[in-house]
């Protein structure tokens, strides 16, 4: 449970990704600039206090009461200098918002007070997460109860885990080892015990680790079983007679809604459509889908989402054709049941 050699005091904690190294560089670079801006105060404040102490012989002639140029100078110059760090920290933040396309996806469910991780192959683990080094990993996270926050200090990243929608966190760890997983958002009694271990392994070792764990079914395959078990396939299946949108090729595409808006078919959309089907009714369909709220737990939802994701994105060649048809005959396009 305890990561490597953490029992003893350390002055420093390794940065194990290039992102983490850049965060350190920016932090200490910015602190350096700020120290530079404080130096005049740090030197002059004690100097004035001593030099102009009551009764000292220093001259007080021509004491200024203001100095426009100086005042504008110290208002604006430090601000402009610090904007350099504003910009770079923002760019780094935006990079962190965009996971690479080919990132390996791991599903995370947070609950009072444990972390559950599911690998794409179906391997699950609790309070520990094994990942390969040098490979981008994307965590798709949701909470079953209150707000948690997944914090990986060695990677210098964290992200709140919300109960109503999926949030993402991605990283590419470069150095093998064992590191902390912490919950950073107060979540109740055992908040400080909601900790785990991130194990970064060589890719071969990771594969061996996966293989050693009898993969019963992949996440998507389990989702497919649930898809039938919950009766989803009755309407959304290939041969359904009920008019419901087909889910093949849905993933990642824009979905026109009955109210005129559009949403992107991502994990949160799929989950919302299962629990709150009236929230986003697809254009051209009647709002007849029943809500599964309270009937499907987050773990099953994760599997269902993985299955729908596995049905793939719409073929790029086919997309424009369909869009054209949508454009010309809006009503009929909506009525089309399946491709």
């Amino acid at each position: 449970m305890t990561p490597d050699d953490t029992t003893s005091f350390r002055w420093w904690t390794d940065a194990v990704s290039s992102h983490a190294e850049r965060v350190d560089a920016l932090t200490f670079g910015f602190l350096g600039l700020l120290a530079l801006l404080v130096i005049p105060v740090a030197i002059l404040l004690p100097y004035f206090v001593v030099h102009y102490r009551e009764g000292s012989p220093a001259s007080r002639k021509r004491a200024p009461s203001n100095n426009r140029r100086l005042e504008w100078g110290w208002s604006i110059i430090p601000f402009l200098l610090s904007l350099y760090f504003f910009w770079h920290a923002a760019v780094l933040f935006l990079d962190q918002q965009r996971p690479p396309e080919d990132a390996m996806e791991i599903a995370v469910v947070g609950k009072q007070w444990m972390w559950k991780f599911q690998h794409p192959g179906g391997q699950g683990e609790i309070d520990s997460l094994h990942v390969p080094a040098g490979v981008p990993v994307r965590l798709r996270m949701i909470s079953q109860d209150v707000i948690h926050s997944l914090f990986l200090p060695a990677l210098r990243i964290k992200q709140d885990v919300l109960p109503d929608r999926y949030t993402d966190l991605w990283f590419q760890a470069e150095k093998t080892g064992r590191y902390h997983i912490l919950c950073a958002e107060f979540c109740g009694t055992a908040h400080s015990r909601m900790r785990g271990e991130l194990v970064v392994m060589e890719p071969e070792a990771y594969q061996a680790w996966l293989d050693a764990r009898e993969p019963d079914d992949t996440l998507a395959a389990r989702g497919e079983k649930l898809f039938r078990a919950y009766g989803c396939s009755g309407c959304h299946g290939e041969n359904s007679v009920v008019r419901a949108p087909s889910l093949a090729g849905l993933w990642g595409s824009p979905v026109p809604l009955a109210d005129g808006g559009t949403v992107t078919a991502d994990a949160t959309y799929v989950r919302d459509s299962i629990l709150f089907p009236q929230r986003h009714v697809a254009a051209g369909y009647r709002p007849i889908m029943p809500s599964f709220r309270g009937q499907i737990g987050e773990d099953d939802l994760v599997e269902l989402v993985a299955y729908i994701q596995s049905l793939g994105s719409r073929d790029r060649r086919a997309a424009p054709v369909r869009q054209d048809r949508d454009g010309e005959q809006t009503d009929e396009a909506g009525e089309t049941t399946s491709p």
Partner: protein, 552 residues
């Protein structure tokens, strides 16, 4: 001007000796007496909050939970946060020093609404009793931030009761805010133009605006939490169809400006002390006056920097980050201005100045680390860790309470007619400054290495830093406790202070100490600004310059 060495209390009618009964205090509408009532109440609340902090530091000396249970620890840090924020820091300087000094500074006989002022104290006392009852009998384990859906649907503690107490105490803040705004607008003595007012009046004015505009939003958001908790109305809990992030937006819309409620008055007090003890007109008066207003205004546009990892949009995050950089500008102006004011002064090292100087040091450290937190990718790593804890303690506690202590020592002779003992006062100031830095510097480091906040137990590697922090807290606690003794002692045994022991030039020093019941026998006519020090004033100056030159 010359200090008379007669016993101040016995011969002349003052606000203290015109009546002695308990009822005369409980029914007073005199801003000075109400200030003293607040001083007593807030001191009590400060030590209750401090006791909770002591328990926290004791628990964190070891990585395992051995002093308190997990729930006990969660309740103790909630007591600490709720009491310190709403029942000490927010009212601290405005309701004690501000209440006492503001009318004297602008040449008024009282605040605009004396009875509202008394009512605000009663509301405060009622809310305090209520908060203490719910916090101690059963307790609350949400932290002072009451994040949903934990607070609204999951916590099994007295959330509703404490929320009600915080809701009620808000009215006390609003009453004081409205009172100050109206007083500053309508009751300045003839000739007391806006740009002749002491800087403390400007910062109290800015503070009051923030209080009046932001506190209702806090009230609304707490009311909504209570509504969801009690009636099950789905507002924040997704299981009821609500949005948990909505609460964070509403809460920080108040609670970020609330940080400025806590620090702006401290900046004002520091300015007064530095001008007086350096015998210098404050450098760049207009810049420092407007910087208070700028902080108050920009302060409403930065709340989202508490939510960079909460799931708000990237565009919003960038805007909030930029705004947070922007608000550092007026703060930096103040620091440079205070330094420049010392240039060519006649600096007299006394306890109030030591407090003011430690205000500057602590404020600078808190401000610098605030900019790290305003930087997006850097905040992602350090938010919700001890880095944040340390940062806001430097500002809200280190700096704010230093200013409060400095102001208390500075105006103590005016408020009581007695001098405190200088030697223990210097010692206490030193203990507070050094103890504070020892307590909180290690917390920055623990936070950067990854220690999350609100942890009852923590990984072993953080123990050394936590022990260092707890040791520093011992010195800090001693420093905070000392004034309680020597200031109380001075009430009876202190040297009579005389009207103006610091040879200061504000209007408040032109009346006897302690002031008579109605402050001014005749409302003074003001002919120059509050800082008649070098280069403008009588003391050590070449000449008194015209207003136009002053207002350059």
């Amino acid at each position: 001007m010359t200090a008379t060495a007669t016993n101040p209390a016995s011969q002349r009618p003052t606000y203290l000796n015109h009546a002695y009964t308990l009822w005369s205090w409980l029914s007073t509408t005199d801003h000075k007496r109400i200030g003293m009532l607040y001083l007593g109440t807030l001191t009590l609340m400060f030590f209750i909050g401090g006791l909770a902090a002591t328990l926290i530091r004791l628990e964190l000396m070891t990585p395992v939970g051995d002093v308190l249970s997990a729930d006990g620890y969660n309740k103790v840090f909630t007591i600490h946060g709720v009491i310190m924020v709403w029942f000490f820091l927010v009212p601290s300087i405005p309701n004690t020093l501000g209440n006492f000094i503001l009318p004297l500074m602008i040449g008024a006989r009282d605040l605009a609404f004396p009875r509202l002022n008394l009512a605000s104290w009663y509301i405060f006392v009622a809310a305090s009793i209520m908060a203490l009852y719910f916090l101690l009998a059963g307790g609350v384990d949400t932290g002072w931030t009451f994040y949903t859906p934990y607070s609204s649907m999951f916590s099994n503690s007295n959330v509703t009761g404490v929320i009600a107490a915080v809701f009620i105490v808000g009215f006390s803040s609003i009453a004081t805010g409205v009172n100050f705004i109206v007083t500053i607008h309508k009751m300045r003595a003839p000739g007391m133009t806006w740009f002749r007012m002491p800087i403390l009046c400007w910062s109290l004015y800015a503070t009051s605006l923030v209080i009046v505009l932001a506190t209702p939003v806090l009230a609304i958001s707490l009311l909504l939490v209570a509504l969801e908790r009690v009636a099950g109305v789905g507002i924040f809990d997704p299981a009821l169809g609500g949005d948990p992030l909505l609460f964070q937006h509403l809460f920080w819309f108040y609670s970020h400006p609330a940080v400025y409620i806590m620090i702006l008055p401290g900046m004002g007090v520091t300015t007064e002390i530095i001008a007086c003890f350096a015998r210098r007109r404050i450098f760049g008066y207009r810049f420092i006056a407007f910087s208070s207003m700028a902080i108050a205004l920009i302060g409403f546009g930065v709340w989202g920097h508490h939510m960079f990892v909460a799931g708000q949009s990237a565009v919003a995050a960038i805007v909030f980050s930029l705004m947070s950089f922007l608000i550092a500008v007026p703060s930096a102006i103040k620091v440079y201005t205070w330094t420049a004011t010392l240039y060519k002064g006649d600096i007299r090292m006394a306890a109030p100045l030591v407090y003011a100087l430690s205000f500057i040091v602590l404020f600078v450290i808190g401000g610098i680390t605030g900019l790290i937190l305003a930087s997006l990718a850097l905040d992602v790593h350090v938010t919700d860790t001890y880095f944040v804890i340390s940062h806001f303690h430097f500002i809200m506690v280190g700096a704010s309470v230093s200013a409060y202590m400095g102001g208390l020592h500075f105006w103590w002779p005016k408020m009581t007619g007695r001098m405190y003992a200088e030697r223990p006062a210097l010692l206490a100031a030193l203990f507070i400054g050094i103890g504070f830095v020892l307590t909180f510097l290690p917390q920055f480091w623990a936070g950067y290495l990854g220690m999350p906040r609100r942890y009852h137990e923590y990984p072993d590697e953080f123990q050394v830093l936590n022990v260092m922090s707890s040791a520093g807290a011992g010195i800090l606690g001693l420093g905070y406790a000392m004034p309680l003794f020597y200031l109380t002692w001075s009430l009876r045994h202190g040297e009579p202070a005389g009207d103006n022991p610091w040879q200061a030039t504000g209007l408040e020093w032109s009346v006897p100490s302690p002031p008579p019941k109605h402050n001014f026998v005749e409302i003074p006519v003001v002919e120059h600004e509050a800082y008649s020090y070098r280069p403008f004033g009588a003391q050590g100056s070449e000449r008194v310059e015209s207003d136009e030159e002053i207002q350059r």
